[in-house]
Amino acid sequence: MYPTQRRPTYSQIPPEGDPRRTEGWALTESARRLAEAQRNPADNAAFLDAVRRNWRLWTIFQAGVMSPDSPMPNELKANVLSLSNFIDRHTVGVLADPSPGKLDILIRINREIAAGLLATPATAAVTATVSVPAKPAGGFSHSV
């Protein structure tokens, strides 16, 4: 269906060594799979697979954030865990009663968090305070 020769670089598995970029990539990749599942809800196995994989990804994050040696400030931890809790409950709901519309919020959360992770802190500070989005380049570094 899609020409494989046009495979974009961002979706290839990134090299190890930059956990922040890896996590941002994983969230984006998970969102991509969820969106694909959303477009093909008839493929029930792939649909549930995408949802479970996303759940597992957030479980890894959750475990990391709750680890005693996590350097995150508490406010950020609380936010991540709140999101993780929402994803837990929402995912159980999707597994019990799958419907494509329910994936919207999961996809949106992943994209937001990925955008935060893939931003480089210096440029992101500008992006977050400037109210008019002047530069499409923003804080994204997918094309590294």
């Binding site: 269906m1 899609y2 495979r7 974009p8 598995i13 990134p14 956990p19 922040r20 890896t22 996590e23 994983a26 984006t28 998970s30 991509r32 799979r33 969106a35 479970r52 994989r53 759940w55 597992r56 990804l57 479980t59 890894i60 959750q62 475990a63 990391g64 954030v65 709750m66 995150m72 508490n74 406010e75 950020l76 931890k77 609380a78 936010n79 865990l81 709140s82 993780s84 809790n85 929402f86 837990d88 929402h90 159980v92 709901g93 597994l95 019990a96 919020i105 949106r108 959360i109 994209r111 937001e112 955008a115 935060g116 992101a124 500070a125 977050a128 400037v130 109210s131 499409p136 923003g138």
Partner: protein, 292 residues
């Protein structure tokens, strides 16, 4: 749902973030939904069984997997009951047609009757999820623990909806047609029934099928309510609160609905963009292996 408490600063930050979000969404949509990359999705079961996760992640995963397994097992059973319901309607139709059929017709209908009963049984045999089947014997059970620290758990015992059990139970309950139903299950045919007794016998059979249908529906509704119970009892919050003493108040407040989750996601994005932190410490390998 509890409201989300946001400070004035958060609100204004979110407002300005909102304006960049549209742009971000456009970009991300292209990135995230653009082109299909991996042609085949890997087998989920393989990585769920993998032992590469940290102990902590394993603890969480164990409980989530149990809930996932519980829901999937119950759903497999519910789907089977729905199909059995449809087959039973056909079975009843076949029996009614036999009232007016000639001998050749009766032989043919008898064969159909037996085939449909076979289908009921094989369909029930396929209703298992990872080895647990809640509808084709009375010997299995499903246990889902909601928490490691409490004894709260959901137990569901299996029931036998196979034709033999179903009709014996139905026939005993209504005290009709047990012998005939049993004979038909055993592969006999309508031709064996004396013409004088045909109508009464078939009426007995259809009422036995009706009882079977209500048994199946009662089972379906019971299984369905267990799924609902799993959804409402699957509360993960207590885990987080216990492990995060500071900031726990905030966590309790944020029992998020979708709107709240959106806002917290935006806020978290902003926080993350300002600090070079990541979530999973040394688990980069685990994250990567999830999508290999």
């Amino acid at each position: 749902m509890a409201d989300i408490t946001l400070t004035a600063t958060s609100r204004s930050n979110l407002l300005s973030l909102n304006q960049t979000t549209d742009l971000a969404n456009r970009t991300q949509t292209r990135l995230a939904t653009g082109l299909k990359v991996s042609s085949a999705i890997d087998d989920a079961a393989a990585y769920f069984a993998s032992k590469t996760l940290s102990d902590r992640a394993n603890d969480f995963s164990a409980r989530k997997d149990e809930i996932n397994q519980g829901i999937s097992t119950l759903k497999a059973a519910v789907n089977a009951t729905e199909s059995v319901d449809k087959l039973l309607k056909q079975i009843k139709g076949v029996a009614i047609s036999a009232k007016t059929a000639d001998d050749a017709g009766k032989a043919d209908l008898g064969a159909q009757f037996a085939d449909l009963l076979d289908q009921v049984n094989s369909l029930l045999g396929d209703a298992s999820y990872q080895g647990t089947n809640l509808v084709n014997s009375t010997t299995q059970s499903l246990t889902v623990r909601f928490s490691e620290v409490t004894t709260a758990q959901l137990d569901v015992s299996s029931r036998d909806l196979r034709a033999g059990a179903l009709f014996t139970a139905a026939a005993n309950a209504s005290d009709v047609g047990s012998d005939i139903a049993a004979a038909l299950i055993g592969g006999s045919s309508f031709t064996a029934i004396a013409t004088s007794a045909l109508i009464t016998t078939i009426n007995d059979i259809t009422s036995a099928v009706d009882s079977a249908v209500s048994t199946v529906r009662a089972t379906a509704s019971n299984l369905g309510s267990n799924i609902t119970l799993l959804q409402t009892r699957a509360d993960f919050t207590s885990n987080y609160v216990n492990s995060l003493t500071e900031g726990a108040d905030k966590l309790r407040l944020a029992d998020l609905n979708e709107e709240g989750a959106n806002l917290v996601a935006l806020q978290t994005r902003q926080q993350l963009a300002l600090q070079a932190l990541n979530f999973a410490g040394q688990s980069e390998q685990n994250v990567l292996s999830l999508f290999r």
